[in-house]
């Protein structure tokens, strides 16, 4: 399914979408740079601790719903809030071609 079908016009990611990093995009923990970085063709994005926890779970196997459930349970946080943050991050990464659905 194309990325377009898995996000609506407001950029909300479908609960059934299984986000994954595309070929050529990797999440790496760099000791020298002091944290997680998302590496892509000619681009480097620093991932803060929260973003890294989300992106680490985007393996193409877990659905958005499952990722949100996992994070909500792990951090004992309100599911609605987690869902909004995860959906926004993933939609933004899809826009930059740093994530596939």
């Amino acid at each position: 399914m194309s990325d377009n079908q898995m996000t609506d016009k407001a950029g909300t990611v479908s609960p059934a979408a299984r986000p994954r990093l595309p070929h050529g995009v990797r999440l790496v923990n760099s000791e020298a740079q002091g944290g997680w970085v998302l590496l892509a063709p000619e681009r480097v994005f620093k991932a803060d601790a929260i973003a890294a926890e989300i992106i680490r779970r985007c393996t193409g196997e877990a659905s958005l719903d499952a990722i949100v459930d996992d994070l909500a349970a792990t951090y004992s946080a309100p599911r609605e809030r987690i869902h909004a943050d995860v959906s926004a991050l993933i939609a933004g990464l899809v826009e930059k071609r740093l994530m596939e659905l």
């Binding site: 050529g24 990797r26 790496v28 760099s30 020298a32 740079q33 002091g34 970085v37 590496l39 063709p41 000619e42 480097v44």
Partner: protein
């Protein structure tokens, strides 16, 4: 370089590795239009492996394997593997001339993350003129499909 741990720690992100100055093309804009370092003066794979490890230690995240034409190195797969093993994101900057599908598969297995093909001009005749190599443009344009099959996203080129 500021190596303090106060949060203003600025470290290099990328390393451009000119593996060779040999190249089948002769683009006049290139920093190496003529032979600069002779083949016998090129750094060997073991030295590059050390350089990659040291670079990674400094904070470098991505290495751009370039030249000259990096495909002119017979040990390109070994060098690519060394960069990958050092934890670097590896980008091959190539003319695409002389990189076969077989080589590309070996490079991918060695951990190559990305390939960047140089294009001299959007006009084929002008591109070949700049490169000093007849048919270079057509070969560049055909390379992605030759390497990856019909599923490869076709570049928007005339």
């Amino acid at each position: 370089m500021d190596t303090s741990a106060n949060g203003n720690n600025v470290r290099p992100l990328g390393l451009l590795a000119e593996l060779t100055h040999r190249c089948p093309l002769g683009c006049p804009y290139c920093s190496n239009p003529l032979e600069l370092d002779h083949r016998s003066d090129e750094l060997d794979a073991a030295i590059w492996a050390r350089v990659f490890r040291e670079a990674a230690g400094l904070g470098v995240l991505q290495v751009h394997l370039s030249g000259g034409e990096p495909g002119a190195r017979r040990d390109l797969v070994e060098i690519t593997a060394a960069a990958h093993d050092a934890g670097l994101y590896t980008n091959l900057i190539t003319s695409a001339v002389g990189i076969t599908e077989k080589t590309l598969v070996l490079l991918a297995d060695a951990g190559l993350d990305h390939v960047q093909i140089s294009i001299q001009d959007s006009d084929p005749a002008s591109a070949d003129h700049i490169a000093g190599y007849k048919g270079a443009y057509a070969r560049k344009k055909a390379s992605p499909k030759q390497w990856c099959g019909e599923s490869c996203r076709s570049p928007s080129m005339p």
